[in-house]
């Protein structure tokens, strides 16, 4: 009877290890804090109406940023834990983590960083900025947009669920290679959590990609041919086409592994005629394009950042775009380079090695187009440009390491070593993450209406690069010394320990960098009167997103702009900006359907993990029911008349002017330049003391 209701759930599933207790308590405290703040400020309804059920891609974008940022901290904490273990566990010492726990941590670290940080932040950027860049008001399907986001959140919850129930995550590495991930070698529910968190998030990603492709191909402003699109939109288009091409492979493979574990089939088992090597092929057919999916939008961002901060148009636009298309296309033909050592013949290995070399060509073309853009420009080293400079060095090193790995006989010595780990982190951190940081600092004024504090931005950048070097240069060296990845302990005779210690110190420096980035944001808001972006165009930008107010109105543009050239906004500025005009705008209504469907999808997956049949059936029915109700609902939009739009614009102008007049909060610092760390500490202390004495909190509440 108990099994019928609870499946495999039991009291034992509740947290009883130090880390599951710590994790559960942390999450619960966080949730409690949010609940308390929302209740005290009476913002529940506001949250639901203005944010959670919103279909505005700008709001969804911000929600992606918040969730992705939070998961970045979670994944970063994983990294610090891993480095600490490895710094300690030489010789007889076995550190503070069991081998199994250590293996779960790096598995979670990889999944979180790829699926729940990088994909989320990139989706946030595409959501917010692609419609603006192409002169559209929204994505093609607002409903799919919110559905995709909440499915992602379902994945976020699922990947953290084991803290509360079950106590174990997959201990197989981030791709759960078979047969290690089969029931024979992973009998617990860890791999099941792995399967379903990725499956839900993956389906959300695929739906999002379909939406983005529809938007870019069908909703561009009149006159914006494909060849007039900004590079970020191009990078996003290439990336999303790759998503719809390869994510179905992941979906199918995850289902097959799920069948093996749940129904006892024999796709990848060692017995019964299964073929584990097939899993390796299938998962990497998805896995390799995935990393290019992540980096192509980042390349697009860098193209825009370099052009804007060199005060020049992007050099060799055509080669740049063809380069991105080339990377996307060729990335589909190199997957075997992840397992040269599995025993394929020399012909097969050599073919894939050569194809991998070929990808280096379009990537180099992109680098050269950036050099050509900087050439004879007037370069300003604002924060986004700093991230570009950090990216190019680190990514180049990682790329060259990649070329070494692409030579099969060399790979036989380097496969699965820390050299490999250093290589891909160079490219993922240097490329994807620095690209995201560049994008966020470039577009921060657009999103918030406030420019970023440049001084602390520089400190953060230096900390990140120094920390990265301290962590990853020793890692390359360890690879040469024969150190394999994923080791929870090692012989002291190897001489590896000092390098592991260096890596751990580097991790701490990176953590300081992250802290500085958070401080940068807070400091910018503290000095927001000084740093306010009143024009909507703080960098003298070239593309259409700068033609809107900062932050943009919900409908982005009062009238859809007519595009006549590449760098549409730059051209508009030369011709003289058009006078504001107003027209009727059709606005999609908010909907909770995305939330409900994702909640049911999460429950169904949870049912699969714990084999609770009634929950599975009920949840699938729930998904279908909400989906039917939503899709057969024809009343999903409302109209804003031109007059209403004009009024909204006037109100906005009034509000902005009133904001300018309001007195700046007395922070006790010199407000003539960007504050440094000393001033920040002073201002934060002043604010803190005020809050304690209860004066400021009430004033702050009144102001808002």
């Amino acid at each position: 009877m108990k099994e019928l209701i609870l499946g495999k759930l039991s009291m034992h599933a509740l947290p009883h290890e130090w880390f599951t207790i710590a994790g559960s308590v942390s999450f619960l405290l966080l949730a409690l804090t949010i609940v308390v703040v929302l209740t005290w400020t009476k913002r529940w309804k506001w949250l639901w109406k203005e944010w959670l059920t919103s279909v505005d891609p700008k709001k969804i974008g911000i929600m992606y940023f918040i969730a992705g940022g939070f998961m970045l901290l979670r994944g970063g904490l994983d990294a610090i834990m891993l480095w600490l273990q490895q710094a300690l566990s030489a010789g007889e010492a076995h550190g503070y983590l069991t081998a199994d726990h250590f293996q779960q941590i790096f598995t979670a670290h990889g999944n979180i960083m790829v699926f729940f940080v990088a994909m989320a932040l990139i989706f946030g950027l595409i959501n917010y900025f692609v419609p603006l860049q192409i002169g559209a008001r929204d994505l093609a399907s607002p409903f799919l947009n919110t559905l995709g986001f909440w499915l992602y959140i379902g994945g976020v919850i699922m990947v953290n669920m084991f803290f509360f129930l079950g106590g174990e995550y997959a201990a197989t590495g981030w791709l759960a290679i078979a047969p290690l991930s089969e029931l024979q070698f992973s009998p617990g529910m860890g791999v099941d959590y792995w399967i379903w968190s990725l499956q839900i998030a993956g389906i959300g990603t695929t739906l999002g990609a379909i939406n983005f492709i529809m938007t870019i191909l069908k909703m561009r402003a009149p006159g914006m041919s494909l060849w007039r699109m900004p590079p970020f939109t191009w990078g996003s288009l290439c990336s999303m086409i790759m998503v719809v091409t390869v994510f179905p492979l992941l979906t199918a493979t995850l289902f097959l592994l799920f069948f093996d574990r749940y129904f006892g089939t024999h796709f990848f088992t060692t017995m019964g005629g299964g073929d584990p090597m097939m899993y390796t092929n299938l998962i990497w057919m998805w896995g390799h394009p995935e990393v290019y999916i992540l980096v192509l939008p980042a390349f697009g961002v860098f193209s825009e950042v370099v052009a804007t901060f060199s005060r020049k148009r992007l050099a060799s636009y055509t080669s740049n775009v063809l380069g991105m298309i080339g990377v996307a296309t060729f990335s589909l033909s190199v997957w075997l380079h992840h397992f040269f050592t599995m025993g394929a013949s020399a012909d097969v290995n050599a073919f894939f090695g050569v194809m991998t070399m070929v990808i280096a060509i379009p990537t180099s073309v992109l680098v050269f187009s950036w050099i050509a853009t900087m050439y004879k420009g007037r370069i300003q080293f604002k924060t986004p440009m700093l991230w570009f400079l950090g990216f190019i060095g680190i990514f180049a090193v990682g790329g060259m390491a990649g070329v070494v790995l692409a030579v099969p006989p060399a790979d036989f010595q380097l496969h699965n070593s820390l050299f490999l780990v250093a290589h891909f982190h160079s490219n993922v951190i240097g490329g994807v993450l620095f690209g995201i940081f560049a994008a966020l600092s470039y577009w921060f004024p657009k999103i918030t209406g406030v420019r970023l504090n440049e001084r602390i931005g520089r400190y953060a950048f230096v900390a990140w690069v120094v920390g990265f070097c301290l962590s990853f240069i020793p890692m390359y060296i360890l690879g040469f010394m024969g150190a394999t990845r994923r080791l929870d302990h090692y012989d002291s005779a190897t001489g590896w320990q000092p390098l592991y210690v260096l890596m751990f110190i580097g991790g701490l420096v990176i953590a300081i960098g992250v802290a500085l980035q958070i401080i940068q944001i807070i400091a910018s808001f503290m000095q927001r009167r000084r740093l306010r972006d009143t024009t909507g165009d703080p960098w003298d930008g070239r593309s259409l997103e700068w033609a809107t107010a900062s932050p943009p109105q919900a409908y982005n543009f009062t009238t859809i702009p007519q595009v006549e050239q590449r760098d549409a906004f730059w051209h508009m500025k030369q011709q003289g900006l058009p006078k504001p005009a107003y027209e009727n705008i059709i606005v999609p209504k908010n909907t909770g359907a995305g939330i409900y469907i994702s909640a049911f999808a999460f429950l169904a997956s949870f049912g699969f993990v714990w084999e609770i049949t009634w929950l599975i059936v009920a949840s699938i029915i729930g998904v279908l029911a909400v989906f039917v109700v939503r899709t057969f609902n024809d009343d999903v939009e409302y109209k804003l008349t031109a007059e209403q739009v004009r009024k909204l614009e006037a109100e906005r102008k009034q509000k902005d002017e009133a904001e300018q007049q309001r007195k700046a909060p007395a922070l006790g610092i010199d407000n003539s330049e960007d504050m440094g760390l000393r001033d920040f500490t002073k201002a934060a202390a002043t604010f803190g003391l005020d809050v304690i004495r209860n004066k400021r909190w009430r004033t702050w509440q009144k102001q808002n």
Binding site: N349, V358, I379, L389, P409, P474, F480, M481, L487, G495
Partner: protein, 302 residues
């Protein structure tokens, strides 16, 4: 703003360059007296792989170093505060420039590909190494979490210890039993190859310098993964022959019962030596995973 501007460049680049320099010194010091296995080759294959790696890196740096230097030089030279060089908002375009952007990396890629293709064939692990000495076959079974070595001709078996004669081409026949994919690796002697259930992968190596070398599993295969280490000992032919004779006189025998004991998961197994009682133990292990299809041997071109 003016007060800060002059400091900008060096206040950012300075600490980074300082740390890089410090790291270079520190790492050089830390690497003394250590086994940097990939550049400390004691075997024929490792030797050639090392040369190949250095050659690849060298060719890439021909493009890589100038490119990276050019990036930072261009950024520095055309910084806003530097009023000397002429500026041109239309510079950086042109057919020749575009063409070279594709052709130069294309040429480097072509050169690397032309090195890669024959090198991959030459260094294919399945390829028998030509040498004067008579080749030696060692059958390897990856278990949880230890390595079983069977010398079929010499009729001995070992766990977590393998001894080979210097100058003799050795063919390791790799498989696994009740274990996930594992990776057999002796970095001082050569690259790795996967050991998987139901498959026999052949790895050919040849030791050139006598000594004891660390070996490991380089693919995660469960909780005991980090402890799945073994020692590979290269000795003179005489020492090897004597060792074989000694081991075959060992009381401990490797037979079905003993093997079943090994099948049970265990970690950090000490090295053990056995005389071999059951001759077709390895074949039985491989056949265990066969269905109605042929045994999977690797695509070997002998």
């Amino acid at each position: 703003m003016g007060k800060n501007r002059k400091k900008n460049g060096w206040s950012t680049a300075g600490p980074i360059l300082l740390v890089l320099a410090g790291l270079a010194v520190l790492i050089t010091l830390l690497l003394r007296d250590t086994n940097v296995a990939l550049f400390n080759s004691k075997g024929l294959i490792a030797d050639e792989q090392q040369s190949l790696m250095l050659l690849t890196v060298g060719i890439m740096l021909i493009l890589g170093i100038p490119a990276v230097c050019l990036i930072y030089f261009t950024a520095w030279r055309y910084r806003e505060s530097n009023t000397r060089p002429a500026r041109n908002p239309n510079a950086g375009h042109g057919k020749l420039l575009n063409a070279s952007m594709w052709l130069v990396p294309g040429a480097i890629a072509l050169v690397l590909a032309m090195i890669l293709w024959p090198a991959t064939h030459h260094l294919a692990p399945q390829k028998q190494i030509a040498a004067e000495a008579k080749p030696l076959t060692i059958q390897v079974v990856a278990l949880r979490w230890k390595w079983l070595f069977i010398y079929p001709e010499q009729k001995i078996a070992t766990v977590n210890y393998v001894q080979v004669p210097v100058g003799t081409p050795v063919t390791f026949e790799l498989t696994a039993d009740e274990a996930p994919m594992s990776s057999f690796w002796i970095p001082n002697l050569g690259g790795m190859l996967y050991a998987m259930t139901g498959h026999v992968n052949r790895l050919n190596l040849l030791a050139t310098v006598p000594g004891d070398y660390p070996g490991s599993s380089a693919e995660i295969n469960g909780a005991g993964f980090a402890g799945m280490k073994f020692t590979a000992s290269a000795t003179s032919k005489e020492t090897f022959d004597q060792w074989v004779r000694d081991v075959s006189l060992t009381a401990k025998t490797m037979d079905g019962t003993e093997y079943d004991k090994l099948l049970k998961p265990s970690e950090n197994n000490p090295s053990e030596l056995y005389s071999l009682l059951e001759n077709d133990l390895y074949d039985k292990v491989v056949m265990k995973y066969m269905g109605s299809h042929e045994a999977h041997t690797d695509g070997a071109h002998h």
